[in-house]
């Protein structure tokens, strides 16, 4: 592994019926990153670490970031259909690797239930989509956006929390957070952050899967990890200690190494 930062580009492209904010960098086989319900604020350190080995593609999903938000997208299943369309129109070679965070993990799982041939390997990180066996998924919409980021991190002194969230936001940043909430609310409102049919469809997934969970995930309880593991035949688990719902931001190096170990293994 070298220490030189991977170059990345940020552009707006018309793909799969929407105007997409697309961040990408690195080279090699494609690695699709599906962000969570809070959106993705930047080209992150974790993206950079992964881009040393893969061609990392991070679209802002419809409604998030500066991507457009057509009315027809009403559910996570619509979103997974859109991701399938996006992959094809982008010309990404398939099967490809995918990393999905929280809502993005749910999207990846939905896609894998309908087309296991799309992904070569799948990493689900603190994935939403299932009603937890114990505990409840934390309610973003009864709480403030500030609370949401606080709840997502175990370590409120971690560098990326302080850099992006643990400070006063500029008006533009605050508006972006609200825009992302507007998108999240349309996809996730009810049943809240889970599907009632996904549990029965998980056995359809043949994709080798890694489930990454922060031990202290305060958003999606770790009991959901067990449900995913029981449902997906070829799934292994990596629990990160002293870590919350956003391992990619809280512990970027450990997270990247965990993912790379699985993808390369």
């Amino acid at each position: 592994m070298t220490n030189s930062p991977a170059a990345f580009t940020e552009e707006t492209v018309d793909i799969a019926g929407i105007s997409v904010q697309l961040r990408s960098g690195g080279s090699g086989e494609p690695l699709l990153v599906l962000h969570g319900e809070l959106g993705v604020p930047d080209w992150l350190e974790a993206h950079e670490l992964l881009a040393r080995h893969y061609s990392v593609c991070v679209p802002s999903l419809p409604g998030f970031g500066t991507s457009s938000f057509p009315d027809w997208l009403m559910s996570v299943r619509d979103l997974s259909a859109w991701v399938n369309w996006f992959v094809r129109e982008c010309g990404l070679a398939t099967p490809l690797n995918v990393v999905g965070f929280s809502m993005g993990g749910w999207i990846a799982a939905e896609l894998a239930t309908t087309n296991s041939a799309l992904f070569s390997k799948m990493v689900l990180v603190g994935a939403a989509g299932l009603k937890p066996r114990e505990g409840e998924i934390w309610d973003y919409f009864l709480n403030s956006a500030k609370d949401a980021f606080q709840q997502s991190f175990h370590d409120h002194e971690s560098a990326q929390y302080l850099k992006y969230y643990g400070r006063d936001w500029t008006p533009d940043e605050a508006e972006q957070v609200e825009t992302n909430r507007e998108a999240a609310i349309r996809y996730l409102w009810r049943p809240y952050m889970h599907s009632v049919t996904l549990p029965d469809l998980l056995p359809a997934i043949a994709t080798p899967t890694l489930l990454v969970w922060g031990r202290q995930d305060g958003i999606v309880p770790i009991s959901s990890c067990e449900l995913y593991q029981q449902g997906i035949a070829n799934a292994q688990v990596a629990v990160m200690e002293d870590c919350g719902h956003m391992p990619e931001m809280e512990k970027p190096e450990e997270f990247a190494n965990t993912v790379l170990g699985f993808l390369k293994g």
């Binding site: 009864l142 008006p171 508006e175 909430r181 609310i185 349309r186 409102w189 009810r190």
Partner: protein, 411 residues
């Protein structure tokens, strides 16, 4: 002139902790004492009956959810009772929160029944509701406006089209629309719309020629919203007049000025609506989840909460009783002293409908009854003369749908 009466009908309890505020989504219903509640419900119904006796043209009820400041979680229940126990006053239902109904057919039939039982006295107003209504009923706030408009269209069709018919919309779907009960009033009961400051709602209302009742008791803000109504009306090809516009304000009247101030002050005490001036607001993400609060509304909110030059946030500035009296949002005094104050409001705004909000907050039943009596005997007759002098027809004088005089039979 149409004169209405309204009380928010709050929970009343002397030892309500100040930090609980209006209680919206903040207090467990373990606090709800059914015996106390039954007494309050009886009190508020009795007051409505008395308001009719004192000559009010309309008795208004509304609803809020998980909200102790308004005991009517289901306004249609109250309206149903009033439909039978009153005889003359319009039942001003302002209003049903259309987006939170997953089954607007149920709503259409409920309202038709109330209209029939009241023998055609129902005004079934419609509202979008606040964030707490969407959150408590788990209705997608992001589709609030779409659901409001589709439910409205569905109600009108259900009330005016002989069934059965089918409805395949975006949010509502029915294979057999044919409720047995249809409204007493034809072609359908008149729709009114209350609001505070949503420009989009005022425009929608004006396009439908529905009377718009401004609830935020502020003269300048009301003038701005009325202007939106006038402008929209011209765009769609008619002149809006007093019959299209209403204004609600706090009111208390007593035999002496000192008593009026002493008792009137209780309007700003107790379990108060979070939307009242100076009241404790719900948290912004509760009041305005995405979809309820538009991008422009969010920008306005940021502006309102920004610190002023003295470093004090505007939202933190509490409007006191004295502030509200000074800005005409609250009128208190003797029968003689309140008349010129209300005249000032009528001259400034030129509404065809005014709604007196009395007996609210921590005010007791006896004080409410005193004010209603004085209004009936001394205040309202004079105000009707002033309204005639100023040329302020209400929606039962000039039909807002046609701008033609209402005939006795139609009214």
């Amino acid at each position: 002139m149409f004169i209405g009466h309204f009380t928010e009908e709050p929970w009343q309890k002397e030892d309500w902790p100040v930090e609980w505020g209006s209680g919206v989504m903040a207090v467990s219903n373990a606090e709800y004492d059914p015996v106390r509640a039954s007494n309050l419900y009886h009190r508020y119904i009795d007051e409505k009956v008395y308001a009719e006796e004192m000559g009010f043209d309309g008795i208004m009820v509304n609803e809020h959810h998980s909200a102790p400041f308004c005991m009517n979680g289901v306004a249609n229940v109250k309206a149903s009772i009033l439909a039978r126990v009153t005889n003359k006053a319009k039942i001003l239902l302002l209003g049903n929160i259309l987006p939170i109904h997953d089954d607007p057919l149920w709503l259409a039939e409920s309202l038709a029944m109330i209209d029939v039982i009241s023998r055609g006295r129902l005004i079934p107003g419609v509202v979008r509701g606040g964030g707490s209504e969407s959150l408590t009923h788990n209705i997608p706030p992001h589709y609030n406006r779409e659901r409001f408009e589709e439910a409205h269209d569905f109600l009108i069709k259900t009330w005016t089209t002989p069934g059965p018919f089918r409805w395949e919309g975006k949010h509502f779907h029915y294979r057999y629309v044919n409720p047995w009960a249809v409204p007493y009033q034809k072609p359908h009961p008149p729709i009114w719309v209350p609001g505070t400051s949503s420009r989009e709602t005022v425009e929608w209302c004006a396009r439908h020629r529905y009377p718009y009742i401004m609830l935020a008791s502020q003269i300048d803000l009301t003038q701005q919203m009325y202007q939106v109504y006038y402008d929209t009306a011209r765009e769609v090809g008619y002149e809006a007049g007093p019959q299209h516009l209403g204004f609600m304000f706090f009111f208390h009247v007593e035999e002496t000025e000192e008593r009026a101030i002493e008792v009137g002050r209780t309007l700003t005490q107790g379990v108060r609506s979070p939307y009242d001036p100076g009241a404790q607001r719900p948290k912004p993400w509760i009041a305005g989840p995405p979809g309820i609060a538009t991008k422009s509304a969010r920008a306005l909110r940021r502006k309102m909460t920004a610190a002023d030059s003295s470093g004090r946030t505007r939202a933190g500035a509490r409007a006191t009783f004295e502030d509200q009296v000074a800005t005409h949002g609250m009128v208190v005094g003797t029968p003689d002293s309140v008349i010129p104050k209300v005249r000032y409001i009528l001259e400034q705004l030129r509404p065809g409908t005014i709604i007196f909000r009395t007996g609210d907050g921590a005010m007791d039943h006896e004080s409410q009854m005193r004010t209603l009596k004085l209004m009936g005997e001394e205040v309202m007759p004079k105000l009707r003369e002033i309204a005639d002098e100023l040329g302020l027809p209400g929606p039962y004088d000039i039909d807002p749908m046609t701008n033609e005089p209402v005939t006795a039979m139609a009214s």
